[in-house]
């Protein structure tokens, strides 16, 4: 499967980013935020979003210097072969652990909330099978699928939110500052890596139609994501109040089980398929990212062939913890903390080195390697 050279446009790009990052609001990421920031948890996506502007701005600044080069190539150029290998390996490890942790959590959601009797390995296997298939189709295909399904997903989320607001109570947002303003900022910024996916987006830099599309798409996507995640989290508080929500594992799934539309009381059957499709797209992209990095690090040209084996590996590693609700949650919390400095400092480092090397002074049309 050779990569087609058809580049993707702004719609597909934004859809991909929204599905990659925005879907996080439906797993246990909000629970982690609520647990530490209590009822001000909904501010975390906004605060983090504002902080995220800095690394993204720096990265875009660096990348506009190198036309058509992705994160791996730029990193090789800036850090030199040896250091670049180490940095990229770290990024790969984080990405790989993230895939394992998140797929394990999604499997747990499906297993505990919907298909209680189905063995975990079957759910996990089917989930990864679909995602691996999606990933092998290539980035352009994922993009067009993402754009096709995106409007439906957004509409279904909005329907859920409207119903939630109708049945909720705005007074639950108060006391507005949670544990106090400083605590909110501190605890949120420690978990900045909820947006770490943006770093990985720079792997796709050469696939995007133009620099302008990439820039505009990234900023727009960031804005949409901030709005989406924080409004959804506000709605969770509206329905449950902070004491309850701190104890829920998967707030989105509790929400869609609680709300009802007139006489239709089992709404979750309606929302589940949309959520599943979003998860498939999300993990297809994740697998693809892993394959790109792995392919580059070990000089494997046709990295698409790695995806099935990667997916298999994910299933087997993800199956190891016998109690996903506790162990995986714990790993995810730690991963969020560990990935934060990486996500924040790497762009700084890249920008600094580029600056010291005097890259910005040269003409934009320079060619590396």
């Amino acid at each position: 499967m050779e990569q087609s050279k058809q580049l993707i446009g702004i719609k597909e790009y934004i859809a991909i980013v929204l599905l990659m990052v925005g879907t996080k609001v439906t797993d246990n990421t909000p629970s982690i935020l609520f647990e530490y920031i209590k009822n001000a948890g909904w501010m975390a996506p906004i605060i983090n979003g504002l902080i995220t502007i800095i690394p993204i701005y720096l990265l875009i600044k660096v990348f506009t210097n190198y036309k058509g080069k992705s994160l791996v190539e730029v990193s090789d150029h800036l850090f030199g072969k040896f250091f670049s290998f180490i940095i990229l390996l770290t990024i790969l490890l984080v990405a790989f652990v993230a895939v394992i942790v998140d797929t394990a959590i999604y499997t747990d959601i499906i297993g505990t909330m919907y298909f209680t009797k189905t063995p975990t390995i079957i759910i996990y296997g089917i989930l990864m099978l679909v995602c691996a298939y999606g990933a092998t189709r290539g980035f352009e295909q994922i993009g067009s699928v993402a754009w096709t399904v995106f409007p439906y997903l957004q509409v279904s989320l909005f329907l859920a939110l409207i119903l939630t607001i109708g049945q909720g109570n705005a007074a639950f947002l108060f006391p507005i500052l949670g544990d106090g303003a400083w605590d909110v900022v501190k605890e949120s910024s420690l978990r900045l890596s909820i947006y770490a996916d943006f770093l990985y987006l720079f792997l796709f830099y050469p696939y995007i139609k133009s620099v302008k599309v990439f820039k505009k798409g990234t900023w727009l996507a960031l804005m949409f994501i901030i709005i989406n995640i924080s409004i959804t989290m506000v709605c969770y508080i509206f329905l449950f109040d902070y004491k309850t929500i701190m104890q829920l594992n998967y707030p989105y799934h509790e929400v869609i089980r609680t709300i009802s539309l007139g006489f239709i009381i089992n709404m979750e059957a309606f929302f589940l398929p949309f959520w599943l499709i979003a998860s498939f797209v999300r993990f297809s992209i994740y697998l693809y990212i892993n394959a790109i990095l792995l392919g580059h690090l070990f000089k494997i040209k046709h990295f698409e062939y790695l995806i099935p084996s990667l997916a298999t590996l994910v299933v087997f590693i993800g199956m190891i913890p016998e109690n996903p609700t506790f162990i995986i949650f714990d790993i995810k919390e730690k991963l969020l903390l560990i990935a934060t400095p990486l996500f924040f400092l790497l762009p700084f480092l890249m920008w600094l080195i580029a600056k010291l090397k005097g890259e910005f002074k040269h003409a934009n049309k320079r060619d590396i390697r």
């Binding site: 209590k38 079957i122 949670g178 329905l239 902070y242 089980r257 609680t258 089992n266």
Partner: protein, 419 residues
């Protein structure tokens, strides 16, 4: 190539269909037994077990899909001792042929005896563990054992139990006879540890000593005295829960006040009566409705905390037994208005005082408004609403607007007729 593609699709689509059915979790509706309500009772000499009662609905009974001449009853009741209401499912299947599911569970019913028990909280939280139980189901409290309650409850017309309960609870809530009482509200209020939760109170056992005719507003379940040929079940008033333990019951009037004074609830049309200011012998019936949102003025942080509540009400006068001439006389209308306001103010403030003195907390959800006055959770927790509430200075004022005086607003003068 084309053939290969078509063939590929033909193989792929059935393969996908196989996945769709859910394999292990495949359930045939025909092979399930739907539990509509679970009753939980205390077992006398065993603290670690509970008596579980299932009310099982027969989906075929009474529907047009009923196969010719089937005489199956609309419901089935089974009651037994179990460790909890999760594991009890398997035990019930020793008697019941089809697999038991909580997919359509709409109510959890607790006997008063169990609700007043310290350990009640341990069992009710099982509902958050099971994946089938939804959070918007109702929580009911019965005066008697729930098994007795289910057996006595024989609705004559709406014989299908799911239909009966849905209808009677919705109507009762609309009329203000019973509170809303959803399970997730129970959990929320218990966890927030500031307010009181009101559960629906019901019974099938009539209180023989009660004379509801004397004061129809001051009764709770079992005290409504009626004759005739109908179901014996009454849903009336509410069960008060404090920190997940039942502490008291509210009468129909108190339940209405609790709903009226709660800013987050939308009261239906409440009908009540007050003594006629022009002739104490008679009572005036009126229908009230919140005219606009409640107004609150809270001063919590400095000195003695005070709360001023204004309740704007729109009243429709429905009866006029003293046959007073309101139509022409503005003075009389004002007097009526004042006397209604006085009467309501007394009732509101008496009830608030009762909650302060007896319950030491309130069922009005006011703590949610109070939270707005604090900027951080630690400030709010230090304030300790439940501890401060009994000492607060609270003043509730009704602001009555007189609406219509019935369909025909004027009546003949009794003096003119009997002259």
């Amino acid at each position: 190539m084309l053939i290969k593609e078509i063939l590929g699709k033909f193989i792929l689509i059935p393969a996908l269909l196989l996945i769709l059915s859910g394999c292990w979790d495949q359930q045939e509706v025909e092979e399930l037994t739907f539990v509509i309500a679970i009753g939980i009772d205390k077992v006398e000499d065993n603290e670690n077990s509970v008596r579980i009662t299932y009310l099982i609905s027969n989906p075929e009974a009474g529907s047009s899909a009923q196969s010719g001449g089937s005489q199956e009853p609309p419901r089935e009741i089974i009651s037994f001792v179990a460790d909890d209401f999760i594991s009890s499912r398997n035990m019930a299947n020793t008697v019941i042929a089809k697999q038991i599911t909580y997919d359509l569970l709409r109510m959890i019913i607790i006997s008063e005896d169990f609700a007043r028990d310290e350990n009640f909280i341990r069992w009710i939280y099982d509902a958050t563990k099971s994946m089938e139980i939804k959070r918007d189901i109702k929580l009911l409290v019965t005066k008697e054992e729930t098994a007795t309650f289910f057996q006595n409850n024989k609705p004559l017309l709406e014989t299908r139990p799911h239909e009966y309960f849905e209808k009677i609870l919705a109507t009762g809530n609309e009329m203000g006879n019973i509170p809303e009482s959803q399970l997730y509200q129970f959990f929320r209020i218990t966890e927030a540890d500031a307010d009181l939760f009101l559960g629906i109170y019901g019974t099938t056992i009539k209180d023989e000593n009660s004379q509801s005719g004397e004061n129809p507003q001051q009764i709770t379940a079992g005290e409504f005295d009626f004759q005739g040929e109908s179901n014996v079940t009454e849903f009336l008033g509410s069960a008060v829960f404090k920190e997940a333990k039942m502490i008291d019951t509210l009468t129909i009037e108190e339940t209405r006040i609790a709903i009226l004074l709660n800013p987050s609830l939308k009261p239906g049309y409440f009908i009540g009566t007050i003594p006629d200011p022009f002739d104490e012998k008679y009572r005036i019936a009126f229908r009230m409705d919140n005219a606009s949102p409640l107004e609150f003025n809270m001063k919590l942080t400095s000195g003695t905390p005070t709360i001023d509540v204004t309740v704007p009400l729109l009243l429709e006068v429905l009866s006029n037994h003293s046959m007073t001439d309101y139509h022409k006389d503005k003075e009389k209308r004002n007097k009526l208005k004042e006397s209604i306001e006085d009467n309501l103010n007394n009732k509101f403030n008496d009830f608030v005082k009762k909650t302060q003195e007896e319950y030491k907390s309130e069922p009005f959800g006011w703590s949610l408004l109070a939270r707005k006055k604090f900027s951080t959770i630690s400030d709010w927790e230090d304030f300790d609403w439940m501890k401060t509430y009994p000492d607060m200075k609270i003043n509730v004022t009704a602001q009555v607007k007189l609406g219509k005086f019935g369909r025909q607003s004027d009546l003949p003068r009794i003096e003119e007729i009997r002259d």
